[in-house]
Symmetry: C2
């Protein structure tokens, strides 16, 4: 399980065995069942999560009780209510399992210790943060310039395996279209 | 002018005089006139920019020639076509002055040298990258849950001085509403 983390980190920075052992001491492993909540709106957010296996949805519930999908996260992705995680505030988002899911949990204190103790890990997180920013910017531009059919096709090209696994109703919610509209788009 | 950079960095990490001098050797200063382009779509993107004074717009032009405002940047903000900057590809966005603007320019090579040479600067950029990601995520959630009136009011609270300076037509384009709709929202 930790091997997946090593492979993932070493796509960005190379670690020797001692360094990777140091990295591992900052993580704890947990299993969650389908439908379980990793983060619940209103509660403190202690951890960010590296997904070893499984699938998560990050959800914002608006004042009328409607759920909006902020993002999905599957193997090799990091997820949390990062706003609350970094600020030490309570969650405004919920993180829920769409499949049985195995994660590596990183306390915010341990994230800071990891960055301070090993500059390579600060570099790794900087790379991931820049990448996350660019993915969000791409999504903003796409929402301004593309219709739902084009956005669906972009998702298919970018994340083909994700599209296979996400229930169609949630995919429609993510794209901001009705279930019926999505049915007309899918082959 | 470099004092503004120091104040800006020291909101996140503290630097001694030698460290700040080292930081400064990585930047060059440039002045641009209103309407001048710092980045032109299709050209290489050599620099990211720290805005010392002035106001910029980052623009995506779609296939039909319509301009979409990706973001504005004023004093103390960083801006570039970061996707092209990090990947070494040509710009898909344009960066244009809305006012006479003074910037500090950072070559991508110098960004990397700065991070490698001074871990505090890697920490600074990590903080900024996380902040940029969260701002983008907030914008995505806001676009899913708020109408144009609410989005305008959120902007007023978050960036009151920006709203005063941005021409109303561009503000409408940023919010994705017509100039007429914006007029009904503004007092």
């Amino acid at each position: 399980m930790h091997n997946k983390l090593r492979e993932h980190i070493e796509k960005i920075v190379q670690l020797n065995d001692d360094e990777f052992e140091f990295v591992c001491t900052h993580f704890t492993s947990r299993m969650f069942k389908k439908h379980q909540l990793l983060i619940q709106e209103g509660n403190p957010v202690k951890f960010s999560y590296f997904v070893v296996s499984g699938l998560l949805k990050l959800v914002h519930t608006d004042n009328s009780g409607k759920q909006h999908i902020v993002s999905f996260a599957m193997e090799d992705w990091w997820e949390s209510d990062f706003n609350a995680y970094f600020a030490g505030t309570n969650a405004t988002l919920s993180l829920e399992c769409l499949e049985d899911t195995e994660v590596l949990c990183l306390l915010f204190e341990d994230y800071k210790k990891l960055c301070e103790g090993l500059q390579k890990m600060e570099r790794f997180f900087l790379f991931k943060a820049n990448h996350g920013f660019l993915a969000s910017q791409h999504r903003i531009i796409s929402s301004m310039t593309s219709n739902s059919k084009e956005r669906y096709e972009q998702l298919l090209v970018q994340y083909p395996s994700l599209i296979q696994r996400v229930p169609k109703g949630l995919l429609a919610a993510y794209l901001g279209v009705s279930r019926e509209t999505l049915s007309r788009l899918t082959p």
